[in-house]
Amino acid sequence: MGEIISLKRESLLKYVLQLADNALILGQRLAELCGHGPILEQDIAITNISLDLIGEARILYQYAAEIEGNGKTEDDYPYKRDVRDWQNILLVELPNGHFGYTIMRQFMFDCYHYYHLKAMTNSGDERLAQIAAKTIKEATYHLKYSSEWVIRLGDGTQESHDKMQEALNDRIRFFDEAFIPSKIENDKSLNGVAVDCTKIKASAWAKFTEVCQTANLEIPEVKFPQKGGKDGVHTEHFGFILAELQFVQKSYPDSNW
């Protein structure tokens, strides 16, 4: 019995880290735009969203540290793990590119994130349900924001339309990874705790399709969805993100304010 409980704990820990990693890496990517946004208001909006996501990552990492015990803190996970330990989906680690790419990545993530949190408010794990009830309020604003921009740019000038279509064509193959369950998401011990991501796919895709249609964007067919992030197999971009994120910790281990 004891072994079953600890197995469940290990799975829950991995699952919580997967959720946290998505939020943190996208938050980190968006933070790169701090002071570099296309106009002041959008610079502020993007960094606000970044802050929300880093906040979400923090409460998840805090929970992970509690599950693991043994003196771990929320900082151990972002600062002391190497590439293969991270379980975020590939979409969130892709570079910002031009504003069309940033918005398209955000919109895809928001479509997933919003419906994922909505389902997670019913999680059998009380803490996860509370975290979802809290963060869905923020994710709702994110989805509204990115939807509006996809429409404004997609249905804007010829140039803005072409750039959005370019971003959609390049990024669409990264959308479905969110809905393909990892080993951990399929783990029987997390039944009723982990969100069944195959079940939110239809709602997320419906929202995605509706907004793309309003924006006059054509959704290309995807023959080979890109995946691997959930199992720690990342794109070539990921090491560079960690190099920046973990720089201080690597140069001055365990330094403190």
Binding site: I49, L51, D52, E138
Partner: protein, 162 residues
């Protein structure tokens, strides 16, 4: 030091928000009471936005206010339930926000129209004009949106529904 519940309550209620110093943590609705165990006091706070950097500052301010009042064994605990919503801002809080130049939330969160894209009229806190326009859903802090008044031309912050 003897634990005097009424005294503690009054000290805690007077702690202000670092971003919006006219509001106390009670006006804001984030103060959720305290628990005592012997001389140890645990103050319960439900955070506004998850990433709000003011939360750490509030914890520090709560501790120092308590220390000044003579209580040294104080812990601030962030709780996620009840989930904070803008509905928890007191009536007094609404008035103070407006006087400070920030438009208070115009609707209850049970009114879901703020999600569907339907724009509500947010009166200008300076001139009361209803002829105002949303500039950006994201403003100077996580909890605010940016508006401008078409009549008096002043930009202003709006404490958005959450």
């Amino acid at each position: 030091m003897v634990v005097d519940k009424l005294h503690i309550e009054n000290v805690l209620k007077s702690v202000t928000d670092p971003e919006i110093p006219v509001l106390t943590i009670q006006d804001l609705g984030i103060y959720q009471g305290f628990e005592t165990e012997g001389e140890k006091i645990t103050v319960l706070i439900t955070p506004t936005y998850t990433g709000c950097p003011a939360m750490d500052m509030i914890s520090v301010n709560v501790k120092s206010a308590m220390e000044e009042a003579g209580y040294n064994d104080v812990e601030v605990k962030l709780i996620l339930s009840p989930v904070w919503t803008t509905d928890m801002i007191s009536e007094d809080g609404h008035r103070k926000l407006k006087e400070y130049g920030i438009a208070p939330p115009v609707e209850k969160t049970s009114d879901k129209s703020y999600l569907s894209g339907e724009e509500k009229i947010v009166p200008c806190p300076q001139c009361e004009s209803k002829n105002t326009q949303l500039v950006s859903q994201f403003g100077s802090t996580a909890c605010k949106a940016l508006y401008k008044c078409i009549d008096c031309l002043e930009p202003f912050d709006y404490f958005k529904c959450y």
